[in-house]
């Protein structure tokens, strides 16, 4: 029996078209627009001005506040202007627009390809390096990684869990990374273990990526304390709380962080970025992005510099198909629909998915027949049908009592609903309402 989480979950069709496509380097565009808020938390403070010459890897916006991250220039060239650009959030936000001239890297960065295994740094030094490199969770949540490495007082991390699940259909960027950069990733894991002072790391991988599991297993003898656990193919296996439950069978209490059960979860992409930052002094300014879709000519995986408009990616993948209905930043279950093709790739962009028109339209909403299928699939044990009604009726206090804030927004309920009700839309509304209510209360 493969390990899996306790309750709920669905199994959407996997559609991993680009799983056997090697990661290629995407040509650097002529102009990039780097948003200053690519992470959860406060937007970074711009420290360059119009006309400045920047090098690839140079700091261009610095951390402002505790939950925030540095941003480095992904290209070399001249700062054209600082303006508003529509980003993945669907709103126009501040971004640094740079005209590309050549590709001159910062001198500190080690550009050699060779594997550098040894490191001799203390925990604090590692965390500082990670913080300086502006590394955030690359799984999609984009939470600044260095904060996760500093457990709050009184809590101790016992185990590092590496998320190589990639349970979202279509996406393959983590899968490719595990196949192509397995050893670098393992060194990154060792560095993270050192930073956290833990003796054990577990890589959770869904069992549909058998090649990756085998590939990593073949290196493990050199990396003591690291273990690979194959997991059942079930969505949302890659949810932080679900993964912890699956791998070490502990439940993170409602409203608390994984550290409360002694676990710290990082994505495989983050582990690789940590390797590059610590061993090669390379800050985070590029990532692997999957470009995929049923009607797309060449679904593929590319290494993309941040700030590259997704239209560039679409062009190299064979151009926008005629029947395009939706362009999604991320996977089909949790990704965000984008409203233009000029949205720049940012730290959280794990993939671009192009859905044909007939698949992007929602079906007609019918009345709830109370079949309880949403309760059956909810991995958090919530009652989506009830939360939807409560949000519609603006009954915030009751919503809070029914644990609406525990929702991880995995979308299993909306996926499974036979009446095609927009359950998650309204649960999100409920979360907004409860959040506003809590803020109002704390103000009083």
């Amino acid at each position: 029996m493969l390990k899996t989480f306790a309750k709920g979950g669905i199994h959407p069709p996997e559609n991993k078209f680009s799983a056997d496509k090697k990661v290629e380097r995407l040509p650097i565009p002529k102009k990039v627009s780097v948003p200053v808020s690519q992470h959860i938390g406060a937007p970074s403070k711009v420290i360059v001005k119009k006309g400045d010459i920047v090098k690839t890897g140079q700091l261009i916006a610095e951390q402002s506040g505790f939950v925030s991250a540095n941003i480095h220039s992904p290209v070399s060239g001249k700062v054209f202007k600082i303006d508003l650009v529509t980003d993945t959030s669907g709103y126009r936000h501040q971004a640094i627009i740079i005209n590309v001239e050549g590709d001159e890297w910062d001198e500190k960065i080690d550009r050699s390809e060779e594997l550098k295994k040894d490191f001799d740094l203390t925990s604090e030094e590692i965390i500082k390096k990670i913080q300086e490199a502006g590394i955030v969770g690359l799984g999609g949540a984009t939470f600044p990684s260095h904060i996760k490495l500093m457990p709050p007082k009184g809590m101790k991390s016992e185990v590092l869990i590496i998320n190589g699940v990639e349970c979202e259909p279509y996406l393959t960027s983590d899968h490719r990374l595990m196949l192509e950069k397995a050893e670098e990733m393992l060194v990154g894991i060792k560095i993270l273990m050192k930073a956290l002072n833990v003796k054990k790391a577990i890589i959770g991988i869904e069992n549909n990526k058998e090649d990756a599991i085998e590939h990593i297993n073949s290196f493990l003898k050199d990396y003591s304390g690291v273990e690979v656990v194959p997991l059942k193919v079930q969505y949302p296996q890659g949810g932080e709380k679900q993964l912890i439950k699956s791998v070490i069978n502990r439940e993170v209490p409602s409203g608390e962080l994984p550290i409360s059960v002694g676990a710290v979860v990082h994505n495989v992409g983050t582990a690789y970025a940590v390797y590059e930052a610590v061993q090669k002094n390379k800050p985070l300014f590029e990532r692997v992005v999957t470009i995929t879709g049923k009607s797309l000519k060449n679904p593929a995986n590319y290494l993309v510099r941040f700030g590259t408009p997704i239209s560039n990616l679409i062009d190299v993948a064979g151009g926008l198909p005629e029947d395009t209905g939706k362009i999604i930043g991320g996977g089909p279950m949790m990704g965000k629909a984008l409203n233009t093709t000029e949205v720049p790739v940012a730290k959280g962009t794990s993939g671009i998915l192009i859905l044909p028109k007939e698949e992007s339209k929602r079906r007609e909403v019918k009345p709830c027949i109370r079949c309880a299928k949403c309760i059956e699939v909810c991995p958090m044990g919530l009652e989506p049908y009830l939360l939807m009604t409560l949000a519609e009726k603006a009954m915030h206090e009751r919503s809070e009592k029914e644990d609406v804030m525990d929702c991880i927004e995995c979308g299993s309920c909306s996926y499974t609903c036979p009446s095609d009700r927009p359950l998650l839309d309204y649960i999100r509304l409920g979360k907004i309402q409860v959040g506003a209510m809590r803020r109002a209360k704390s103000m009083k």
Partner: protein, 335 residues
Amino acid sequence: MLKLIVSLSPHQLGKNSVEKLMYGVIIALIPILIASVWFYGWGAIVVSLTAVISAIVFEFLISKYILKIGNTIGDGSAALTGLLLAFNLPSNLPIWLIIIGVFVAIVIGKMSFGGLGNNPFNPALVGRVFLLISWPVQMTSWPIPSPASEKFLGYTDVVTGPTLLGQMSEAMRNGESMKVFSDRIPNYFEILTGSVGGSIGEIAGFALIAGFVYMLARKVITWHIPISILSTVFIFSRILWLVNPEKFIIPFFHLFSGGMLFSAIFMATDYVTSPMSKKGQIVFGVGIGILTIVIRIWGAFPEGVSFAILLMNATVPIINMYMKPKRFGETIKEK
């Protein structure tokens, strides 16, 4: 210019639909229909067809012209309600009575609350109980089944007689020992293969169980409600039997006689009128089980499962209120 569609996640939808679930139940009912045609002849077909057609007509008229919510017959719920009601009726019931029953079921039991998803009571049972109370004679003159291998029955040429439960309550009233009575009744193989009188859907336990297995495999329903009803009935009647085997009949009799199997599998599992959480469904099932035995043994009617389900339907909101699914991370929170 290309107009992109924007919406919140998830962007992918599953293959579930109301139609699929409703037709799933209808398919599960087909073996029972075949079995009842075998035993009751044309009557089974006439009653079923009348009920289904009139249910669709009533639903169409009301949804289109009174509620104005568009035509809702396509989702299959009206046909299903009609079919379920038909299976709760004797096969020799006059057509006008069937139509009245369907009218009560669809118009009063379902559409008056706003249509599918809003009715608190199982509409088919509302129709059935209405008929049972208003026309008790017609509703309880059960045809005696005769397999088609002997004679294929017409709509009206049936001989009527009491059901097993009717015989039991008669015997109980006469103070007859249940030990003696249980020697008189047919054996369980005969009961399961259908040689007992009753309404259309109460025949042939094997066909019912086949339908149950089909619905479980298709994930139309879960096992919680039927199994909790049947095990409660078994345990409760076994306790009674252990207390006094003279006065109370053996538990298997309760399990396989009357509409017990049919109601547990098809009537109590109606989505709209059953609780949402697994815990709640088990409480619901236990309640139905206990009430059924209480009504059968101490009540005025020989058969109580319909009343038990309707009574428990009324408690569903309160069950939903208190029987919550186990939240993720909840146990640790409370410590």
